[in-house]
Amino acid sequence: MNATTGTVRPAPARKESAPDRPESMDMYRKMLLIRRFEERAEEAYGRGKIGGFLHLYIGEEAIAVGAMAALRPDDDVITHYRDHGYVLARGVDPKAIMAELYGKSTGVSKGKGGSMHLADLERHVWGGYAIVGGHVPMAAGLALANQYRNEPRVVACFMGEGATNIGAFFAGLNMAAVWKVPMIAIVENNRYGMGTPVERASAVVEIHQKAAAFGIPGLRIDGNDLLAVRDAVREAADAARAGGGPRLLEMTTYRLRGHSMGDPQRYRTKEEVEEAKPRDPILRWRKVLLETGAAKEDELEGIAEEIEAVVEESIRFAEESPDPDPSALCADVLAEESHGPENVS
């Protein structure tokens, strides 16, 4: 069965859900920023400037951008390793993100975390975690802290559909549901966990149905439909803020690149990828903007040029930034307090 068919929730037709022009353009700008940023990162990886793993988000941009548009700036965000999109959508400086990918001292995590471990606590981005599903219990804990202090903040926990087959997902969401903490589990179903299609990895391919295991609402949203994403996240956030507990949102989407760089993608045909391209969320939103008259062609071209310049600047910044000072190697392992005189050798 095709995982993107089934009970897909249509984009809400309610008039009040239509974004105003500045928001519309901002969302377009952010999706495009993620796309161009990653295309340049891909190139830089090819030139050996970026090391390790690089997991691209290309094709899934509507989810990060739609979700961030729905969340308040002080809502908490915690993510998995395919994390560039969320952090960019959150408004973290692209220069600092690119520098992190380059392993430079000016990176968001000072070059210690790399592509998979982006964090910006000032913007309530609590980090990307690379052990699949391991961050789900942490999201419950963050939400517990918010609930404990009566702070009306919601935790959005992003993960891929592959993460919904691991123990920590079940243990973490169960706990969140028992505690009724303000948390939204946002599952991006891009059909593949690395190279394994969801049908071969998950007994239940309609991931939103897994919400039944926790007695919480589960919804399947077309994750390439920007407004559907935004409205579903807003609704879930409102419910969580009102004490309604967690919710599971499955966002169906398609990963237009491999799992990570160097993935030969033998698990799918070129035709399948080609077939998915017209559903590209950026093309779709662009079409909406033009057809509704919200924007004109040359205006969108202008945004594209503007984004090119921002991304170019991020590359330049990353290239020119210094490597971490050798003294950084042993910094930040522990808080410097409470221990006796250090004599570990």
Partner: protein, 323 residues
């Protein structure tokens, strides 16, 4: 000074820290209404309420993961894992998350978390009678505390709760009933400082947790034969404080490490390597080690009793070292 049990000392530390800081919460299996499997948290639920003493599902990955998230989010959680055996279920959260978050995000986040968990045994068979302190002490980013006395347990737990770092606080369920002097007033003990628990001149015994008591008993018996052992209690396994050990070896020229975990690649191996490197010229004999027999724990009582160093084994080994 009042005589109190190790259990009561741990509970006192929890109660005092909860009263002092509203951000301190406790979470774990049966810690609330039941009062803890080993009755350590008894009464705290009544005193502080369900909001601060939280019963969790039997799901260790979620207990530790949620505690890590809560700690990042500004609370000071004390997570209880019913026994250290179950820490295996939470190992990803402990090693990949708790220990690394500060470093991995360039110092942006802190994880002021305490994981309290007892080790021990008592006809519980192979999966419930384990000691993993060397595994945790292996990991940069974790602090590992393993107190042997009520006094140390209270003072060190209070420091652990106040620490900005994730701390593995490993108790011992055969020590919970052990009594010792605990002063009534407020006190804390510095993490990362070992202590000479008995002065001597002939052999240095380096130990921690329950084996401190076995070692002290052996030292008393040996004393009747005119052999005076100096017993050093490490108290903290990471950071590992070797100063008291080195001072002692300088005096005795012999070191025996007594641990309750398996010996191979354990704490004793690390301690022996450090003594060998830093105090080679002081040694009159090879550094010796005693630990658990290297098999999974058997259930049968007679076999189980053969598993750990006892007073006699320590005495024999000390005498061999002096022969």
């Amino acid at each position: 000074m009042a005589l109190k049990t190790y259990r009561d000392a741990v509970r006192e530390a929890l109660r005092e820290e909860m009263a002092r800081d509203p951000n301190v919460i406790i979470l774990g299996e049966e810690v609330g209404v039941w009062g803890g499997t080993y009755a350590v948290t008894r009464g705290l639920h009544e005193e502080f309420g369900a909001k601060r003493v939280i019963d969790t599902p039997i799901a260790e990955a979620a207990i530790v993961g949620a505690a890590v998230g809560a700690a990042m989010g500004g609370l000071r959680p004390v997570a209880e894992l019913m026994t250290v055996n179950f820490s295996l279920v939470a190992m990803d959260q402990i090693v990949n998350s708790a220990a690394k978050i500060r470093y991995m995000f360039g110092g942006q986040a802190k994880v002021p978390l305490v994981i309290r968990t007892p080790a021990g045994w008592g006809q519980l068979a192979a999966t419930h009678s384990q000691f993993f302190e060397a595994w945790f002490a292996h990991v940069p980013g974790l602090t590992v505390v393993m107190p042997a006395t009520p006094y140390d347990a209270k003072g060190l737990l209070k420091s652990a709760i106040r620490s900005e770092n994730p701390v593995m606080f490993i108790e011992h369920f055969r020590l919970y009933g052990v009594k010792g002097e605990v002063p009534d007033g407020e006190y804390t003990l510095p993490i990362g400082v070992s202590e000479v628990k008995r002065a001597g001149k002939d052999v240095t015994i380096v130990t921690y947790s329950r084996m401190l008591h076995t070692s002290l008993a052996a030292a008393e018996t040996l004393s009747k034969d005119g052999i005076e052992c100096e017993v050093v209690d490490l108290r903290t396994l990471r950071p590992l404080d070797m100063r008291a050990v080195y001072e002692s070896v300088k005096k005795t020229h012999r070191a025996l490490i007594v641990e309750e975990d398996w010996t191979t690649l354990g704490m004793g191996a690390e301690i022996a390597a450090r003594i060998g490197r830093d105090r080679f010229d002081d040694l009159d004999a090879p550094v010796e080690r005693l630990g658990q027999v290297e098999v999974p724990m058997p259930y049968a009582k007679n076999l189980e009793e053969m598993m750990f160093p006892d007073e006699k084994l320590v005495i024999d080994r000390v005498k061999t070292m002096l022969a």
